[in-house]
């Protein structure tokens, strides 16, 4: 009983929104309102480092970077905010503005991918996982007789449809897992993962690339137009980072 009570208390503590960051968020917002964007950036980054990723904090941080004249960093933060809040018109509008300021052309996205990005990638995989559980349960029910068997057929239909749609969408969005933003540009694309290797091209600051390999301080990236090469891993930062 004591263990159960302790577990409930821990669960409540874990689920309660942390409010410790509010003073720092307020300070960051005041700094941004006063035009001190460097201070706003510093405060928002501290909030992220302490409490983790948050779409509003990332959005405000992107705004501060953009007003500081760092569109590449703003693009990175907007991209990260879109992972947490897909389809947010405010984020998309500011991301477009940041790309314009970075001198980048609008990203060409196929209609299928646009439709697939209606929900986040994680939503799709959770839906697919739930569908797998439901499908397996329904298949077990199908082996039984009576009401369970009759119930199994619609459940299988629903689960199979959910699984198909979510799996297809997840496959379409799969490349988004490896998106990265060039924050130090112009960066040189090397033919091999070494600073002395011959250059095969260049990357513009704020350009979105896709990470494909990693070796000794270098990452192999591929650009939207299909060019590939090795670049310093400090230059291309993944959107889906493990920590702030």
């Amino acid at each position: 009983m004591r263990v159960l009570c302790l577990g409930l208390v821990l669960l409540l503590v874990a689920s309660t929104p942390l409010r410790a960051d509010q003073p720092m968020v307020a300070a960051a917002a005041q700094a941004a309102a006063a035009g001190d964007y460097a201070a706003a950036v510093r405060d928002y980054e501290q909030v992220l480092n302490r409490d983790g990723f948050s779409a509003p904090v990332l959005f405000n941080l992107g705004n501060a970077w953009l007003r500081l004249g760092k569109p590449a960093r703003a693009i990175l933060d907007y991209e990260r905010a879109l992972v947490l809040a897909p389809r947010s018109p405010a984020i998309e509008a500011n991301l477009t503005a940041a790309r314009q300021r970075a001198g980048l052309a609008p990203e060409a996205i196929s209609p299928w991918l646009t439709a697939a990005r209606y929900f986040s990638f994680d939503s799709y995989i959770w839906a697919a996982l739930a569908a797998v559980w439901l499908l397996c349960g329904a298949l077990v029910l199908l082996c039984l007789n009576g009401v369970a068997r009759r119930l199994a057929r619609p459940l299988i239909l629903v689960a199979a449809l959910t699984l198909c749609v979510s799996a297809d969408a997840a496959v379409l969005c799969w490349s988004d897992l490896y998106r990265a933003v060039v924050i130090q540009g112009p960066a040189i694309l090397h033919l091999a993962p070494a600073p002395s290797a011959a250059a095969s091209g260049g990357l513009r600051e704020g350009e979105v690339v896709w990470l494909q390999d990693r070796y000794s301080g270098f990452v192999f990236v591929r650009t939207a137009d299909g060019h590939g090469g090795w670049v310093s891993d400090a230059a291309a930062v993944p959107v889906r980072a493990s920590r702030p």
Binding site: D21, D51, F59, V83, A93
Partner: protein, 617 residues
Amino acid sequence: MKSAVRHWRLSCVAALVGLLALSAGPAVAASHVTATLDPPSFSVTESAELTITVSGDEDAVPLIPRVSGLIINPDGQSSQVRQVNGAVTAIFARTYRVTANHEGAFTIPPIQVGNLTTPSLTVHVGAAGTASRPRTGGAAPDSDRDSSAAVAKTLRESMPTMKVVLPKGRLYVGELVPIQIKAYFREGVGARADGPLAAVGDAFTVSGLDKRATQTQEAIGGVTYNVLTWNSVLGALKSGDYPVALELPLTLTIQVPAADLDMASRLRALFGTRAPGAFMDDSVFGGLFGRAVQKSVTLKTDLTPVTVQPLPAADRPANFSGAVGQFQVTSELTPAAGAVGDPLTFKLTITGKGNLSRVSSDALQNSAQWRVYRAESKVTADDDSGLQGFKTFSQPVVPLQAGQLELPGLSFSYFDPEAERYVTRETPSVKVRVTPGAGATPAASALPAGPLTSAVQAEDGDALAPDVSVTGGHTATLESPVLRPWFIASAVTPLVLMLCAVTLIRRHQLRLGDAALVLHAARLAAVRINLESMAAALNRGDPTAFFTAARHALQEKLADMRQLSTAPLSAEDDAEIQAILAMAEKAIYAGENPGPEMLRTWQRRILTQMDRLEAIA
């Protein structure tokens, strides 16, 4: 002896394999680059082909230098991999089309390809009409001279024409009309565009010229033409009488009849004539029967006169911004209600046919009730030509007071060229129910609820959606769980559980469907019931019921044992069973009552015998 021969053969095979391995050598050959110009001299009306070939492991894009007087445009590329004696060589060839602005001698400086450079090339460009030196393996110059008359005649007959199809000859300034541009090519004439279709002059704009043309065939005067058609939109820029003129630079490939060409020139034509990527390219097969001649021309349309009228000054509305066409206007506010401080979006949509880019409208203004931000506009075309579509003006507005507020209607004016008059359309005013706010500032809204469909002007004047109030939780990582081991395990677990459950259920069902198993279970149940009856009869002191139950239990047990095992009974078991059955006969049919103590003894003997039968089974 046989063993020795086999050993010798194996030694030979091993030696051969070793020699082959040694001869394979290094896998990749050294890189080198070559540049060739074909032909090395040509006239200003002709072009030459510059080919840069890189072999080895270098795949950098050549850096083509600028040469004054020469135009060098990319024309194509190819790659191949060769393996000779195990040495792998990759060959990349890029071709460029070289034309000259004027005659003279030009030098193309060394071309850098990665770490390699080509030698410089010298180009001699003669005056128009000067015969060029032969292409490598190309058509023979002797044949050119011999058949110059035939070539000139064929060129004249094969020259394509181009025309513009206009729906009407009178336009208003700013009016857009759909047009068709048609280029007619005789059959057998190959053509490659050397540049985009372009309008000449500044009286008109022609949009959509960069789009792909559709190709059809038309028969005119008994001659079949291949027709390229561009659908485009013509816009009048200034008033007056102006011709509509367009031009298209082309390189034509024309087949000259082979009547006066010798076989050698035909063969050279066969292997030398090249027109990569050309429309209706038949140079290879054409070379079998004649000679292909390439010619650079600029195709021009006939001068189609158009009268452009100025827009009438009379009755011109004050808010007229130059929109010409036919339009409709609608407005909406989203969301339709809100609280003080909540940003709402007023959207004005102008739909119709005409110069949407010139469409503009009055904008909402700041008032005591409303704080208004800069409007953003977006044009969306319904068709490829851009003639029809809609333009949306999105203007963020923030209510400053609670209560029933009203956004005033807006007006929009345009000139209708069909009706030849100005038209003004107005939107109705919008009533909004505004509730008292929770003290939120206009610049702070939550991200998910923010209806900011367009950029909002922030306090410092930039066109960014403003900062939002920080609500909601945080997440420690943005990495997707899809690649985590626990996620994969949670996806595999239901499959394993399902397989186990299905296996168990099917096994149970199989057992239910097995007649032997069912009989076995029934007999065991009968044995159990009879033993219970036997015990109850013992307690009652009813020897008849006791032995009836005992006999049935023993019979069921024996039958079950015979089903499960074919092992014979021992003589001792057989005798004991016979004794029990004989006693049962006496008790049931002869009314013998052995007494309570003997019944208990018989019960022990019966149970012992049952256990022995169970052991045998």
